[in-house]
Symmetry: C2
Subunit: 335 residues, 2 copies
């Protein structure tokens, strides 16, 4: 593991590290597990007050009367050092006794509610019912778990991803968890997106950003809801900061989840080219894996964006920090 | 343990048991742990369709957004064979991981929410929010846990016990759990009692009862809320069934909880006489312990009710069944 911390370079008594990242403001648009890995790499390179994560809330849902924000929780638990390392989501060392009792009551158990995890859902639900916006609730939960980076829900207005499949239209978590993304996807829509707007905290963060990153998350269901809010593309296009996406596709496969399967079902090539093209108007740069080096020519030919070809699979903490560092250095070269 | 079951006496091929209880309709007014013990004894003597338990809901409360009904849960878990035998409440073999995480969030943890127990609160809360009355919710929960006796909340209208103490007025669970009934009680009131009325299910059960029992529960905070509903005393006085109370006080002490301490603080003698006098207009009979045999004369002199003096402390299942049997036999002699 890389032991350099962000503090060292700022100390004039210590010889400056040529690899050190200057204290720039970074905003990353993120989904769940892949986004959380990038966030955790960035958190080791920059002071917490420099890092803002704008997180998809379109896969939030209400379940058993609880308001559940899977992507916010995954990023929060990861940064708090609480995430279950086996799954990348949920709380480590959790138990499932409430779920076992729910099964006894014949209540739905397809969504894995850990006992420790339940505490988060209980508090969030209570605060939301009391009228606090999701942005405030998220800030409180992070504060109490000692997460010092800024986690922002993309909006305080509810947006709900609906997946039109060959088995009918499904709420996102039904598609993703209950049916384990097996139904064939025909189309995706974001219910409520017309009324949704990024919060003022999101807009301020983007306007003050020195670098904007698009995490290696599913383009269709993790980042598209963020980008589909009416004001969002205009805001992103207006900022001068470099805007870099990291491919969630490597060697014809998704790093995690249904991104590759969705591409096939939507008649798109399973390739970083598809990802780059998907964001093309918004990006100044794109990061893809060595294994997809052949795509670099296609992307360069078709789009006027810079490319970084490196190892993008994050197996461990060292990979996360290295990818975050290389991506930031690549971005900063573009300023 | 007594192995006779209620079915045997009904079978003409089997010689009738002189101790068998005929299949009468019994309604018992109950609080929590003491009431649950009596309920469990009765459940071994009578077919489930003959047993109706009317349960105090004035110690229900909302906590962390959950609607919690401690007395209903205690009786339900006991009859389902799920109760924690160490405490008499909560679910056996439960864990406390949600509570540990709530502590990490600095949320209130004075009310012990077990992980398995949480499932009950989640479902009840969800159904109540969906508009189902507490009577329906209770019926569903019991059905799903295989509890075949009828558990009825005293009312579907919220009533909340408030305890006026030397440290100010406290919500009941704050007094009882948070402050472990240590503050000195000056008075008790039941918020919402004027608007509360027994459900039609409660009224029907009472009208169809062959025997009505008052469980060995705290008179002031477990049975008084049931009896304080405006229509209740009139309904109870109008039925012809024997009405028998079991003393919660034995030898100057409460069987459990603050009943004796409350009596002292309210300047009442800590004695079965106080209990009998408390219900006197409503009772036809009263059950007290051998250790309080000297009180029998006082009660007989002051009130025209029959007395049963026996062992009333329920240490184990055998005690529960024996007390239930003796109480029913005593009641049936009065018809």
């Amino acid at each position: 593991m890389n032991t350099m911390t962000y503090g060292e370079a700022a100390n004039p008594a210590v010889p400056s590290d040529p690899d050190a990242i200057p204290p720039v403001n970074v905003v990353a648009l993120l989904g769940g597990v892949g986004g959380a890995k990038l966030a955790s790499g960035l958190a080791q390179l920059l002071p917490p007050e420099r890092l803002t994560f704008v997180i998809n809330t379109a896969d939030d849902f209400e379940h058993l009367g609880l308001y559940i924000s899977p992507d916010l929780d995954t990023v929060m638990y990861t940064l708090a050092g609480l995430v279950n390392p086996e799954t990348g989501w949920g709380v480590k060392d959790d138990t499932w006794n409430a779920l076992a009792m729910l099964a006894r009551y014949e209540a739905p158990t397809w969504f894995c509610l850990g006992d420790r995890d339940l505490a988060t859902h209980l508090l969030r639900t209570q605060w939301l019912r009391e009228g606090f916006p999701l942005t405030w609730v998220t800030q409180q939960l992070c504060l109490l778990l000692g997460v010092r980076q800024t986690l922002l829900p993309m909006s305080d207005v509810p947006v709900r991803t609906r997946v039109l499949t060959d088995e009918g239209e499904l709420a996102f978590q039904e598609y993703f968890v209950r049916y384990a993304w097996q139904p064939r996807v025909c189309a995706i829509r974001f219910e409520g997106i017309e009324q949704a707007h990024p919060t003022s905290a999101v807009v301020s963060a983007l306007r003050g950003a020195d670098v904007i990153l698009f995490g290696p998350s599913n383009p269709f269901v993790s980042l598209d809801p963020i980008l589909a809010m009416p004001a969002m593309r205009r805001i992103l296009s207006a900022v001068r900061a470099p805007r870099i996406a990291i491919s969630p596709i490597v060697a014809g496969q998704a790093l995690k989840g249904p991104a590759a399967k969705m591409m096939r079902e939507l008649n798109l090539e399973v390739s970083p080219v598809t990802v780059a093209a998907h964001y093309r108007d918004l990006l100044t740069g794109f990061v893809l894996d060595h294994q997809d080096a052949d795509c670099a020519i296609t992307i360069s030919t078709q789009m006027s964006i810079r490319l970084l070809v490196t190892d993008i699979v994050m197996h461990d903490e060292t990979d996360r920090v290295r990818l975050a560092r290389e991506t930031l250095q690549f971005a900063l070269q573009q300023r």
